[in-house]
C-alpha cells in the first residue's frame, strides 16, 4: 500500500494513495458536511457541500471527488466555505417543501443535520413552495417528491448495489424529479425488488416505509457500506 501525506487544516494526515480528500479527512477525524455522498456507492459531486479550499488553486474542490496528492494543503472550514455551505442549505430548504415538524425523518434527517451543522436558522431566500406531488402506489413504500433534494443516492444505490435501476432523474433544472421505471407509478415498476435500499439511502424523508409517521423513519444508512464490504471483502459482521 502506497501512502500519501497531506495537510488538512494544518494537521498532518497520512492516508492511502488514491483516496479522496473526504475519506482522508474522515480518517483524521475532521468532519466535512455532505449530502449526496454515501459510503458504498459512486460519487455524484452534486450537493457541493463538501467543497474545500486547496492551496495553489483558486477553484473550490468538492472533497468527495478530489483525490489526495502528496503535499496537498487543504482547508475545510474557512469562513467563506461555511458561508457558502449555509447558503446551499438555505437553497435546499427554499427549493422544496421541508417541514420538519410533520416529516417522517424528523430527528433523523441529514438535511436537518446539515442545517444545524452550518448554523442555518432561517432562509434568506424566498420559499418556492413547489407542488411536486407524491407517489404511494407501491405496496410497501412511498415517495414524497416535496422532500426530495435530488441527491440521486436512491438512483445510484438501486443501480449499483441492487442492480435494478428503478430510479432515474427526469426533466431538467428546477423541474427535475426522480422518476421510477419508465416514468410510471412506482407500484407498476416490475424491476423494483422491494428491497428497500432506497429508503435507507434517502437522506431526508422523501422515500419512506408506509406506516411510519412523524419522526419514525430511523433509517439504516450504514447498511449499504456493510453490504458492499460483505460482497467485496467477505466481512459478514458489523
Amino acid at each position: 500500500m502506497s501512502i500519501t501525506t497531506l495537510k488538512i487544516n494544518g494537521q498532518d494526515v497520512v492516508t492511502e494513495s488514491g483516496k479522496t480528500v473526504l475519506a482522508a479527512a474522515k480518517e483524521a477525524g475532521i468532519p466535512i458536511p455532505t449530502l449526496c455522498h454515501l459510503e458504498g456507492i459512486s460519487e455524484a459531486g452534486a450537493c457541493r457541500l463538501c467543497a474545500v479550499e486547496v492551496k495553489g488553486t483558486p477553484k473550490l474542490m468538492a472533497a468527495c471527488v478530489t483525490t489526495v496528492a502528496e503535499g496537498m494543503e487543504v482547508e475545510t472550514h474557512t469562513p467563506k466555505l461555511q458561508d457558502y455551505r449555509r447558503m446551499i442549505v438555505e437553497l435546499f430548504f427554499a427549493e422544496g417543501n421541508h417541514v420538519c415538524s410533520i416529516c417522517v425523518a424528523n430527528g433523523n434527517c441529514e438535511l436537518q443535520d446539515a442545517a444545524i451543522e452550518v448554523g442555518m436558522d432561517h432562509s434568506r431566500f424566498n420559499y418556492r413552495f413547489p407542488d411536486r406531488g407524491m407517489d404511494l402506489s407501491h405496496s410497501q413504500f412511498g415517495i414524497d417528491h416535496n422532500r426530495c433534494i435530488l441527491c440521486t443516492r436512491c438512483v445510484r444505490v438501486c443501480d449499483e448495489i441492487e442492480g435494478a435501476h428503478v430510479w432515474d432523474v427526469g426533466n431538467r433544472g428546477e423541474a427535475c424529479y426522480i422518476v421510477s421505471g419508465m416514468d410510471q407509478p412506482w407500484g407498476e415498476v416490475s424491476a423494483c425488488t422491494a428491497c428497500g435500499k432506497c429508503v435507507d439511502a434517502c437522506p431526508t424523508g422523501a422515500i419512506f416505509r408506509k406506516g411510519t409517521t412523524t419522526g419514525e423513519k430511523a433509517g439504516d444508512r450504514a447498511k449499504l457500506e456493510f453490504l458492499v464490504n460483505a460482497r467485496d471483502k467477505q466481512e459478514w459482521s458489523r
Binding site: L60, A62, I88, A94, V169
Partner: protein, 540 residues
C-alpha cells in the same frame, strides 16, 4: 488517390468554373428570406438571356452580412447586391451582362468586409458547400495529405502547439496541449469529437461554418485524429441546425466516396470515420462531459473533472474534444505553418475569431477578425454603430459572459483582456446595446436562460439560478430592498465558485458584470423606503 491526382482534380475542377460566376447565399438566414427562389430565378435569367455558356449561378455558404440578406455577389468583380428579392434576379443578370438595373448595391470595400481576416471563413461564400469538388478546387484536403505523408503525428501536434491556437469554444484552453495529452495516452481506442452544440443566444458562427464549409471541419478532424491516434470521430450538432446536419451528411458521404474518409485514407494505413450525433436541444450539452454522456446515450449531465476527457472520455477512452471553429483553423495551420498563424493576433491570443455581431447595430452579421482588434473598431467601424442613439454596452460570451460598458470599448478583443474586464471571449456572440436598454432586464434575461438550461444536477446552479432570477424579477417590480441586493451579490459569488460545471460557474457573470458597471441602475430599482404618512402623530 495521391497528391498528384488530388491536385489534378483541383485544376480540372477550377477549369470547369465558368468565367462569370454569380454567388448566391444559401445559408439558413438567407434561405429564410427566399434566397433559393432568387437562385432559381438567377439561373433561369442566365438561360433566358443566352449567357449559359459563360455564366453560372452557384449556391454558396454564408457571406457574413446576414442582416442584409439575401446576398448575391459576382465572383469576378466582387459586386455585391443586398436584400435581393426573387423578382430582382433578372436585373442582376442585366448588370452581369453590362447593363443597368435598380438594385440595392452593397459596398465590398466597407470596413465590415475590409477589416476582416479570413482563415476559417476563407471559403464561406465562395464555394458550393454541397460539392466536395468545389472544396478540392480551392486546395481542400491537401493539408490532410501533407499531414499524413510528410509529417509524423508528433510533428502535427508540435505544429498546432507552436501555432498558439486556443480553443474557440470559449474557454480558450491551448489546443496543442489538449492534443498532446490525448496523443500521450497509451495506444488503443481513442475518439475525436467536434462540439457543434452552439447554444448562446445570438450566436451562430458554428452553424455558419458547418453550413458553408463542412469539409473544412472534416479535414481538421481527420488531421486531429491522425495526430492523436484516433480512428473514430463524432460531430455533435444540435437538432435546431437541420441544414448544417444535411450538409455534413452530404459532405461525409462524398468524402468517403473519394477515399478521404473511411478506411486507408489516401491509401495510407490511417483509418478514420466520422458519425453525426444530433443534440436534442439542451444548452448544457455544449459542456464537454455532458456532451460525451449525450453521445453515449445517457442523460446530458456534466460530471466533475478531473478526470478530463483527454484521459477518460467517450466510453472511458481518451477523447479529444474541440469546437467547430477550432477544427476550422487546423487545415490552414498545417498548410501555411505555425509561424504564419502565430504572426496573426496578439501575444497570447493567436489567429482570428468569428463573432456574430447582433443587437442595436447597423450592420448585423458574421465577422472574422484578427485577435487584438478593439471592440470600438468592431462596433463602430465595422458594425456602423447604433442606428439612432448611443451605444451603452457590448455583451460578449452569451449567458456566460458579461456586459462591457461603452467607456471600455477600446479593450482589445482577446481572451485575457475580455476576462479582465469581467466578460469573456465565449463562443463568439456579440450583442450591442443602446442607451435605451435596461441592464437589469438584460441580466434577468440571461438568468432566465440559465435557470431554464441548468441540468439540475448540482444545487448552486439548479436552485441558485432560480433564486437569482426571482430576485432580479422582484427588483424589476421595485419590491427588493438593499439587503436583497446584497444577498443577491453574495449568491452570485457562491454560484460562481461552488457550481459543478461551466454553466453554473459562469451563470452569474451577466449579473456581476452589470452590477460592476451599472450598479446605479440596480439601486434605482430598489423598493422606496417607507415614508411617514402625513398627519401622523407619534403617540408616546
Amino acid at each position: 488517390m495521391d497528391l498528384a491526382e488530388l491536385k489534378a482534380l483541383a485544376v480540372a475542377e477550377k477549369a470547369k468554373f465558368k468565367p462569370l460566376r454569380v454567388h448566391c447565399c444559401t445559408s439558413t438566414g438567407c434561405q429564410a428570406a427566399q434566397s433559393l427562389e432568387v437562385k432559381n430565378n438567377l439561373a433561369k435569367a442566365i438561360q433566358d438571356k443566352g449567357l449559359g455558356d459563360r455564366a453560372e449561378v452557384v449556391g454558396v455558404g454564408c457571406m457574413g452580412f446576414c442582416g442584409r440578406g439575401p446576398l448575391v455577389q459576382f465572383a469576378h468583380d466582387d459586386q455585391l447586391f443586398e436584400t435581393v428579392t426573387p423578382d430582382q434576379a433578372e436585373g442582376i443578370i442585366d448588370v452581369l451582362a453590362g447593363g443597368e438595373a435598380d438594385l440595392v448595391k452593397g459596398d465590398p470595400e466597407h470596413p465590415f468586409f475590409s477589416r476582416q481576416f479570413h482563415i476559417v471563413r476563407k471559403n464561406s461564400g465562395n464555394i458550393n458547400p454541397d460539392r466536395i469538388e468545389d472544396y478540392i478546387a480551392v486546395g481542400g484536403y491537401q493539408s490532410l495529405y501533407k499531414a499524413l505523408f510528410e509529417m509524423s503525428p508528433a510533428e502535427v501536434v508540435a505544429e498546432v502547439t507552436a501555432s498558439g491556437l486556443r480553443g474557440r469554444g470559449g474557454g480558450g484552453f491551448p489546443t496543442g496541449i489538449k492534443w498532446a495529452t490525448v496523443a500521450k495516452m497509451p495506444e488503443g481506442q481513442k475518439y475525436v469529437i467536434c462540439n457543434g452544440d452552439e447554444g448562446d443566444p445570438g450566436a451562430f458562427m458554428d452553424r455558419s461554418v458547418l453550413e458553408s464549409d463542412p469539409h473544412l471541419v472534416l479535414e481538421g478532424m481527420a488531421i486531429a485524429a491522425y495526430a492523436v491516434g484516433a480512428n473514430h470521430g463524432y460531430i455533435y450538432v444540435r437538432a435546431e441546425y437541420p441544414l448544417a446536419i444535411q450538409r455534413l451528411e452530404t459532405a461525409i458521404k462524398q468524402a468517403k466516396r473519394y477515399g478521404i474518409l473511411g478506411s486507408q485514407i489516401f491509401d495510407s494505413p490511417f483509418d478514420f470515420k466520422i458519425d453525426i450525433r444530433i443534440g436534442a436541444g439542451a444548452f448544457v450539452c455544449g459542456e464537454e462531459t455532458a456532451l460525451i454522456h449525450s453521445i453515449e446515450g445517457k442523460r446530458g449531465n456534466p460530471r466533475p473533472r478531473p478526470p478530463y476527457p483527454a484521459q477518460d472520455g467517450l466510453w472511458h477512452c481518451p477523447t479529444l474534444i474541440n469546437n467547430v471553429e477550432t477544427y476550422g483553423n487546423i487545415s490552414a495551420i498545417i498548410e501555411k505553418g505555425s509561424a504564419w498563424f502565430s504572426g496573426i493576433g496578439t501575444e497570447k491570443s493567436k489567429g482570428t475569431k468569428i463573432f456574430a455581431l447582433t443587437g442595436k447595430i447597423r450592420n448585423n452579421g458574421l465577422i472574422e477578425v484578427p485577435m487584438g482588434i478593439t471592440l470600438r473598431e468592431i462596433v463602430e467601424e465595422m458594425g456602423g454603430g447604433v442606428p439612432d442613439g448611443e451605444i451603452k454596452a457590448v455583451q460578449t460570451g452569451g449567458p456566460s459572459g458579461g456586459c462591457i460598458p461603452a467607456y471600455l470599448l477600446d479593450t482589445p478583443v482577446d481572451y485575457d483582456s475580455l476576462t479582465k474586464v469581467g466578460s469573456m471571449m465565449g463562443s463568439g456572440g456579440m450583442v450591442v446595446m443602446d442607451t435605451g436598454t435596461s441592464m437589469v432586464e438584460v441580466a434577468q434575461f440571461y438568468m432566465d436562460f440559465c435557470q431554464e438550461e441548468s441540468c439540475g444536477k448540482c444545487v448552486p446552479c439548479r436552485a441558485g439560478t432560480v433564486q437569482l432570477h426571482a430576485m432580479l424579477t422582484r427588483l424589476l417590480k421595485k419590491q427588493a430592498t438593499l439587503a436583497d441586493l446584497e444577498t443577491m451579490e453574495q449568491l452570485c459569488y457562491m454560484v460562481k465558485e461552488m457550481s459543478l460545471c461551466g454553466l453554473g460557474m459562469t451563470a452569474p457573470n451577466p449579473v456581476l458584470s452589470t452590477l460592476q458597471y451599472f450598479r446605479s441602475e440596480y439601486e434605482e430599482l430598489l423598493q422606496p423606503l417607507p415614508t411617514m404618512p402625513e398627519n401622523h402623530a407619534l403617540s408616546v
